[in-house]
């Protein structure tokens, strides 16, 4: 599983730190860090919560194209 750079950039666009996002969705900062680094596969509920906070769709943040998956 590759790094989720789209989550990182969406978070940066909203000017949010990992801690801010973590507090907004009710998880630890380590969990957000693990998702961004591709070390943890979040549940669909957590994905939806993250997308709602960032104002994006699931496709925009979590859908992996073949090119992304190979990274």
């Amino acid at each position: 599983m590759g790094k989720n750079l789209r989550l990182k950039s969406a978070r940066a666009m909203r000017d949010m730190s990992q801690k801010d996002l973590a507090e907004a969705v009710g998880v630890t900062r380590q969990t957000i860090n693990a998702i961004e680094n591709g070390d943890y596969n979040p549940s669909i509920n957590l994905c939806i919560a993250i997308c709602k906070v960032l104002g994006k769709t699931l496709d925009q943040i979590f859908w992996e194209d073949n090119d992304d998956a190979e990274k």
């Binding site: 973590a22 507090e23 969705v25 009710g26 998880v27 630890t28 900062r29 380590q30 969990t31 693990a34 943890y40 979040p42 549940s43 509920n45 957590l46 919560a49």
Partner: protein, 148 residues
């Protein structure tokens, strides 16, 4: 809506995995102890040997859970760690004192099963102190990691 006062999903996943591994370790160590006992190797009297094995596995479980930040949920992580340490230390000291009082000539004097007068209490107390030191070190490391 996710509840902030509990562990998040990654913490639960990690804690469950660590718990499973610790339980497997406990089973293996008790089995090993049984084999050694059968071969005539008696390193500690019963039930202190089983107690010590359980205590070691429990300590490993706790240390690993703290190391992976899966002991407290997202909301409670900002709370002071010092009070927890004081509480655990005080409770351990009280329990150890009570056990020493019970097994060294006051409460259960003269029973045939207590061949390890005060040993269990000393083990409990020393293991608690070791666990507290480990927890304090892990807390310091975690704070440094958070700052980075």
């Amino acid at each position: 809506m996710m509840r902030k006062n509990e562990l998040d999903e990654m913490q639960i996943q990690k804690r469950n995995r660590i718990g499973y591994q610790s339980f497997e370790l406990l089973t293996c160590l008790i089995l090993l102890e049984m084999v050694l006992n059968g071969l005539g190797v008696k390193w500690l009297p019963y039930p202190t040997n089983i107690f010590l094995i359980t205590l070691v596995c429990n300590s490993i479980y706790l240390i690993r859970v703290v190391w992976h930040k899966s002991l407290a949920g997202p909301k409670s992580q900002g709370k002071s760690f010092t009070w927890k340490l004081i509480f655990i230390g005080g409770f351990s000291a009280l329990l150890a004192g009570f056990l020493i009082f019970l097994f060294t000539g006051n409460g259960l004097k003269g029973t045939e099963t207590d061949g390890d007068n005060g040993l269990g209490a000393i083990i409990l107390f020393s293991c608690s102190i070791a666990a507290l030191i480990a927890l304090a070190l892990i807390n310091i490391i975690s704070k440094r990691q958070d700052k980075e």
